[in-house]
Symmetry: C2
Subunit: 379 residues, 2 copies
């Protein structure tokens, strides 16, 4: 029941994330894929199978085959709300572990700015809009409840935005490279009370690619492969916010996915054993809740943990700058997280490098808390 | 590089296929899933992971979690044009073979009649409409070319429709149970010359479910499990019809997928070694081309093969009645084929039972010939 050390990540690539009105979905996929090919030192002819993740920027495996001229191999499209990217990665890992293929490519992409459905502070074509609400208004309920229960303020949440934007200044491919202050966050235009503009991740176009192979073949491609240690996925109801029992203070899918991954890796004390994490900070409150759901700290102690999550803290969270800096091009996000884990674990993250990382955790949230997926990578 | 004998199919289920205006997507999924639970003699609590296929009747794993109350387990949505169903099956098989899960459920569903985009003889929301053409007009080009090259007539193609509708009278869950004559086919209203109404599969709602497990656990559930012998998937360009080199007489993705599957199983003479097949007869011409692409006969000999493909022939094709009788609720079709293979291999197909089957082949086509997937099951 484990993928531990069966799969290696040998190449990762990103296009520049941002308002890419000048690029098609294909342009972004090509940029990210050739970045990954160069990183792996691999020819695209060696790719034996591929997976592509998108919520609404394309259909079927042909959406990857045509831009990459990756013809005649199996390509599967995976969609799982905002967690599409990491679930595509998971399915690719299982295919390699099954012995079906030696080398596979996983791509994720989303073009949100041209979708015609964008709205300030919302995710362009986010599917929950169909339920009559927006992402900010749903996560605002969590923030309101957390404030009521544990007495935190808008200033507390602002610290998360400030931390992630500071980290983002060190990520050349992030959408935003700008520091912000607590005062700016608190005084920003209100989106859905208590969440203001800087509590929300931006609306962004982007693509990300990872190339993986059988662990025993990895050294053929590079001296410093990174290995998959465990992946957990859990799905709850599509409407967790509207269940009478919901207390708005936790995402059950997250805790379940983390439990699966920790069990596979043999982790009993995540706070001590995880070196750093990339998590789904679609809103500041999301990152706060995730500290607790991932068992980095106890319930209600998220606010105290923020300083620990700093780039030079004991357990850095979102060294890349997270969704706050990169935005959330839906299909790309989970694979962008794998990019950051890989880069950090190789010690190639430059000014945002965390100290001596052994195990990195990536957490991708989907839907209104209904899909949680946790991947753990290590050397 | 093979799944051979690692995975068993222990349960299969279908809802009644048809114009299900009275049923929601959820209703159809529930009918198919509980049919499969009963068939496997399994409690839904034993399902450890799931996959769901649809082109446009839902999003994310939650679309399966909510109707089946299949909460807290991993669920992935797979989409690969008209081949979505069988690709979901393939990904589930690889996950089991990887050792990640012991028991998994695969569901496929599509609701086409309420889509608001239906048109006579077309697939409701078929994505190729976006390219400015319809499915009938594209496959009509293949029929025209085949007629020109090999001298067949509308009467030749009509024999395939007659055969499949006759078989369909023996499938209680098919959309249509009615025999038709060559004269009816030839005189039917023209859809896209030379394809008339009865050369096209109908527009249908439906859902199908398969339950699979590790082969070594299968006997715990039933005495007559069916085993996966091989699965091949190939993707070519999304616009194969508009490539200058296309001769309209073959789907390259089909031949490549079949080669992969035959290699995994060790098949060198498909005509002799395959006992029967369920293939993607979205149009009569499609089934004719597929005889050749699957190497059941040589190029240009498809017309002669039609009699061999009869229910009492040497290599029965579409004993269920195929898409001609069941329609093509897109996400469901590939899994509906797995249902038929399983039922036939167990010897439970009643009046449509083929004689002493050893190996059954299922072939699901996606897009305008761009996605081909072949599964081979056996005892």
């Amino acid at each position: 029941m484990s993928l531990k050390d069966k799969i290696a990540v040998i190449g990762v690539g990103l296009c520049k994330f941002g308002e890419n009105y000048h690029m098609s979905t294909n342009d972004m996929l090509v940029d990210a894929a050739f970045d990954a090919y160069a990183d792996a030192g691999i020819d695209s002819k060696e790719i034996q199978a591929a997976w592509v993740a998108t919520l609404s920027s394309g259909t079927s495996g042909t959406m990857l085959a045509d831009p990459l001229k990756l013809y005649k191999v199996p390509i599967t499209r995976v969609e799982n709300f905002c967690a599409s990217g990491m679930d595509a990665f998971r399915n690719a890992c299982m295919a390699i572990a099954a012995g079906m293929y030696d080398v596979a490519l996983v791509a994720g992409v989303e073009k949100l700015k041209d979708s015609g459905q964008r709205g300030l502070g919302t995710f362009g074509t986010h599917p929950v809009l169909a339920y009559g609400t927006t992402a900010p208004s749903m996560f605002a309920m969590a923030a309101t409840r957390y404030m009521h229960k544990y007495g935190i303020t808008k200033e507390t949440l602002a610290q998360i935005a400030v931390k992630n934007h500071k980290n983002g200044t060190k990520s050349p491919k992030a959408h935003f490279q700008m520091e912000i202050s607590v005062e700016q966050v608190v005084k920003a235009p209100m989106i859905s009370s208590p969440l203001g503009l800087f509590d929300c991740c931006p609306i962004t176009d982007g693509a990300a690619v990872a190339i993986i192979c059988r662990a025993d073949l990895a050294k053929k491609y590079r001296d410093d492969p990174v290995y998959v240690k465990g992946i957990g996925l859990a799905v709850t109801s599509g409407q967790p916010y509207y269940q009478p029992k919901n207390d708005y203070l936790s995402f059950e899918a997250t805790t379940l996915a983390a439990e699966q991954a920790y069990k596979q890796v043999g982790i009993t004390n995540p706070r001590k054993e995880i070196s750093f994490a990339e998590v789904h900070d679609c809103f500041t409150i999301t990152e706060l809740l995730v500290y607790e759901d991932l068992k980095f700290c106890k319930k209600g102690e998220g606010a105290e943990f923020i300083s620990t999550a700093a780039l030079d803290g004991e357990l850095p969270v979102n060294p890349s700058g997270g969704l706050k800096s990169f935005g959330h091009p839906i299909g790309a996000t989970g694979i962008r997280m794998i990019y950051e884990l890989t880069t950090q674990l190789r010690g190639q993250a430059g000014p945002r490098q965390v100290k001596n990382p052994q195990l990195g955790l990536a957490y991708n949230l989907g839907g209104p808390g209904s899909v949680g997926i946790v991947s753990i990578l290590g050397n």
